[in-house]
């Protein structure tokens, strides 16, 4: 809101305008839109863009957080702070099967756990809210199957994605016609890259969860991943030793499934500098993408974002 903020560079400005256009188009064309809010950096950018798109009005739809119950505690605190600060209409949902059947990432393995607590939970929450459009922060540069995702991604009544039968998408004209029960996932950040996200966070001073910045934190090494060990829910396995290291997270998800990286990047400048020279992708820290080839595509077909 400050008048002294330098103008965005043309690259970020173009990406921002495109995202705002998509937000407005979906809000105008659909009856019950919702925005998936995962509390991560991309969601933070998405939220900021939504506020810009509808200014001076409020965001005209609710935000939905699928809470697996295993998110980093700092994420939940941050989420609640944002909701209060920006007067957001926040809906949170947890799959009751989690508690009922004791589904945890430790007992059921990452694949089954993700399917129940994220994909199934998302389908349940979307059905419960009768949402006909859901914004997500997915970017095409994240993963191979996402490179073929449309900006308006059509879903059947049971939330399935058919990558072989997508509607062609020409110019910036989006086809929002659906039948009752069908829905569309809309991706305003489709054309953003990871570096764009960070540059935009910096240029717009967007608040993000502090876990993205390096600090001394307790960790254990498990399956080649650095798992944050400041949570009583993490039970150490035989031979595992808790130690303190200077780490940060490149992406945030469920804490037992999201690996930290060793890093000393404590500022946005540091993070961007680190990215420019990074040799691994951001999803490398995500256990769920690595289960098998085509893993993301499979999850997406079943309704995952």
């Amino acid at each position: 809101m400050s008048e002294t903020k330098p103008p965005l560079d043309p690259n970020l400005k173009a990406l921002e305008s495109e995202a705002i256009h998509i937000f407005r188009e979906v809000a105008a064309e659909f009856e019950r839109p919702v925005m998936l809010y995962s509390v991560g950096k991309d969601s933070s950018v998405l939220l900021h863009l939504a506020r810009k798109a509808f200014y001076p009005g409020r965001i005209p739809f609710p935000l939905l957080h699928i809470d697996t119950g295993w998110k980093f505690r700092e994420m939940i605190a941050f989420r609640d702070r944002m909701a209060a600060e920006f007067d957001l209409d926040l809906v949170t949902y947890t799959n009751p099967r989690g508690k009922l059947e004791g589904v945890t990432p430790f007992t059921h393995g990452s694949s089954v756990y993700t399917n129940i607590m994220k994909t199934e939970a998302l389908r349940q929450a979307l059905d419960a809210g009768q949402y006909d459009a859901a914004f997500g922060g997915a970017r095409r540069d994240e993963e191979a199957s996402r490179a073929k995702e449309r900006i308006y991604s059509f879903r059947t009544p049971d939330h399935r994605w058919d990558p072989r039968n997508q509607r062609p998408e020409l110019w910036s004209i989006y086809n929002g016609q659906i039948r009752k029960g069908e829905s569309v996932r809309a991706f305003p950040l489709s054309n953003w890259t990871e570096v764009d996200i960070w540059r935009y966070i910096q240029a717009e001073s967007i608040p993000i969860v502090p876990l993205y910045f390096a600090a001394q934190r307790p960790v254990v090494e498990r399956d080649g991943m650095l798992v944050l060990a400041e949570d009583e829910r993490l039970e150490l396995l035989p031979g595992e030793v808790k130690r303190t290291e200077t780490i940060r997270f490149r992406t945030l998800g469920c804490f037992p499934l999201t690996g930290a990286i060793r890093s000393t990047a404590t500022t946005l400048d540091d993070i961007i500098g680190e990215l420019e020279t990074a040799t691994v992708s951001e999803r490398q820290g995500r256990a769920i993408d690595r289960d098998e080839a085509g893993s993301m595509e499979k999850k997406k077909r079943e309704g995952y974002f």
Binding site: M1, E3, D9, P10, N11, K13, L15, E16, S17, I20, H21, R24, E25, A28, R51, K52, F54, Y55, P56, G57, R140, D141, E143, A144, S145, R146, A147, K148, P163, R164, R167, P168, E169, L170, W171, S172, I173, N175, Q177, R179, S190, N191, T193, D196, D269, I272, G273, E276, T277, A278, T279, V280, S281, R283, Q284, R290, A293, G294, E297, K298
Partner: protein, 491 residues
Amino acid sequence: MTANIEATVQAAEAAQPATRNARPLRLITCGSVDDGKSTLIGRLLWDTKAVKEDQADALARDNRHQQNDLGLPDFALLLDGLQAEREQGITIDVAYRYFSTDRRSFIVADTPGHEQYTRNMATGASTADLAVLLVDARAGILEQTRRHATIATLMGIRQFVLAVNKIDLIDYDEAVFNQISAEFRQFALSLGVTDVTAIPMSALLGENVVHPGTASMPWYSGPPLVEVLELATQRTAQTVGFRLPVQRVSRPDESFRGYQGTVAGGSVKPGDSIVVLPAGSVANVKQIVTFDLVRNAAVAGDAITLVLDRHVDIARGDMIASIDAAPALGRAFEAKLVALSADAITTGKRYWLKSSSRRQRVRVEPKTRLALKTGQWDGADSLPLNSIGTVHLDFDEAAMFDPYETNRNTGAFILIDPDTNNTVAGGMIVERTTRVDGIDAGGERDHVLLSLPEDLADRLMASEAFADLRDHVEIRRVSGARAAAVLKDVD
């Protein structure tokens, strides 16, 4: 001391990564698997470090494909994102790739060269500023190359790079390269395209893609591909009349009423006089509101909220335009169409037409169809999947457009089948037509009778220029003697 200074400079560069001083350049790559398209894109991503090690590792884990002799990952495998593609070794759909250099970011629409290539190419080309056409140096210009260039031109692309790939396999033969590029330039000229950069290249060896290939091709003094892309121009819609298709009306409280949309042409500033279409009401711009500040101007591409100086009735789908350069308003337009659906576009069927934020009913009447093999426009009354043709559009209510040639935003539309809700065609407006002013209208000396030998007439009628005007012409085929007799009767 010197070492210290150098270290400082390097640190400063690392901390302050070069900013991108331009919008992302959108490009499309055309060519088939055999031309080495996957290798080229893979090479672009690899050499600009857009591919990370774990992504390459994931390929190695798939282990059906081994790394090639150069120790690089199998690029085709990296690019084919869907399981079916990996299983069948084909590319199914348009994919978007991202890479950047210190100067610019790039969005590549990567389209398969074979199955349904027209549909996918049209999709990828619709937003592209530039097309990279790939040819195999051993094969030269093929019919496919001409088709790709034709489609790209139709979709509004006027900048081409001809990548003459696999030049290493013909021993870097300059004469062959020159002959291929000359042949293509001549063909491009027939499409009205003059901006062609031809580059001899080995995508596999990385010569003239990101890094120069001077060592193998001392005879080539031009830039590698990435430098051409860095310097390519972007078409701007800023010099045409102001257009704001209204996406939604913002009314947070009684005191505020703003019209939200993305500027689709020209520029606007407070005080400008505008007209609201189709109603025709006029007003002046009071304010341009954005989240950051109240602005004193906005240009094409900006997402804004416009406040007017008086109350006028404006809804989603209306267009706010400059009062002295408004778009064409009418119920009948001529357009070019690319058919995207298995169900052919046929006369009489009613579709939804969506253009900018406006959706309305339209009846479509196919007129001609482009024979991609010959470049001729033949008469047609339906347009099957993957065909390109000219059509007549008839609206129930007033529609407003600019010619696609003038404004890609306000001259483009899609057709939606109301039965299936599928997007069945992409269209580009040629011009408004006024049927009442056609053949039968009066007026002295405003028509011309031509008598031509049949073969010459057929050539004229098959040309692209004629395809757009077919409705305006009456045609009779007669003997030379009869033609002479008819003309004799006319002054």
